[in-house]
């Protein structure tokens, strides 16, 4: 993809890059809304509103928040919650490396703030925009802030709605429903599908041997290594 992105074919940067970033992100940003509502509703069953919101502000990563909130509700050990969510978040390193390499002239002091705005959505929008024009830090900030604001509002709204709705409405099932949606988004080709299925099977098989917290981690790591090995063997 880099090959056809020569400077000569790029359009010049637009005049108000921040606003342009906001505009380019609004549609995909709104797709975050149901996840935010669901996260808030599920988390509010066991956490006070302040904590539900604090997690959205400081972690700002939907899938990890979902998993952390539900593992907390199940009373899982903190260390296993951290390891599981870290594995889930490893893809942030890839996205961040890709954004960092392409965004130039970011003031050093602002780097942590910019890094905090990296999400699947802001990443996708920014990389897509980079394909046909020069995109600077301002565009990315506009994009990231759009997702950030939608996420904060929707998770607080979800917490508020969720705490008023009784268990009999099946709110607890917002969690598995979200996992199902996220899985469909992450599993895009044969190798991710095969590895995910293997991890699910291994996790259940390992449960009697290593218990119900470490089986998820062990199954994931092993299935991931298996996938790398399988792909290398097939192509090499």
């Amino acid at each position: 993809m880099d090959a056809d992105m020569t400077t000569s074919t790029r359009l010049p940067a637009r005049k108000r890059p921040l606003l342009e970033g906001v505009r380019a992100t609004l549609a995909i940003g709104l797709s975050v809304l149901p996840f935010g509502l669901a996260y808030g509703a599920v988390a509010a069953q066991t956490m006070p509103l302040g904590l539900v919101s604090l997690m959205s502000l400081t972690v700002f990563a939907g899938t990890a928040q979902f998993v952390a909130a539900s593992m907390l509700a199940q009373g899982a050990a903190p260390i296993s919650i951290l390891v599981t969510t870290t594995l889930l978040q490893l893809r942030l390193v890839l996205m961040s490396a890709s954004v960092a390499r392409r965004l130039r002239r970011v003031p050093r002091g602002l780097e942590p703030a910019l890094a905090h705005l990296i999400t699947d959505e802001s990443f996708a929008v920014t990389i897509a925009a980079m394909a046909d024009r020069t995109v600077g830090p301002r565009f990315f900030v506009g994009s990231g802030l759009t997702v950030f604001v939608i996420w904060q509002i929707s998770s607080v709204a979800g917490a508020w709605l969720g705490s008023g709705v009784g268990e009999e409405w099946g709110i607890a099932y917002a969690m598995p429903s979200s996992l199902i949606c996220l899985l469909f988004m992450l599993v895009r080709d044969k190798s991710t599908l095969a590895v995910s299925l293997a991890a699910a099977g291994l996790c259940i098989a390992l449960r009697p041997l290593v218990g119900s917290t470490w089986n998820v981690l062990l199954a994931t790591v092993v299935a991931g290594i298996g996938g790398v090995w399988w792909n290398a063997r097939r192509s090499g």
């Binding site: 797709s31 956490m47 904590l51 604090l54 400081t58 972690v59 700002f60 990563a61 899938t63 990890a64 998993v67 952390a68 907390l72 199940q74 903190p78 919650i81 951290l82 969510t85 870290t86 594995l87 889930l88 978040q89 893809r91 942030l92 390193v93 890839l94 961040s96 490396a97 390499r101 970011v106 942590p112 890094a115 990296i118 009999e168 099946g170 709110i171 917002a174 969690m175 598995p176 429903s177 979200s178 996992l179 199902i180 949606c181 899985l183 590895v195 995910s196 299925l197 991890a199 099977g201 996790c203 449960r207 089986n215 998820v216 994931t220 299935a223 991931g224 996938g227 790398v228 792909n231």
Partner: protein, 108 residues
Amino acid sequence: MERTALWVTLALAAVTLALRYIPFATMARLSLPDWAEEWLRLVPGAVLAAMLAQTLLYPDGQTLPPWRNAYLLAAGPAFLVAWRSRSVVATMLVGVGSYALLSRLLVL
């Protein structure tokens, strides 16, 4: 519980910021070998699938026969809708609705 949740939240925030910021801080120096990039790409879906399998088969840590397990049964319609519609809203409504209905029917 609340205290644990607070600490987990703060630790999770620190880890997440590190994962997001390290590439910015190291920029050019960070270039991962292909197998590592491949592994990082495969792992998130695997975590979700493993968690989902465990959540559906052992809700609340119990073992239930599949036909009495509302969690597992409600996943059928939810999967179908997610696959056909790719809509988050539709999947959640169908998932939550099926679960509410099934958990009531199965108590009887």
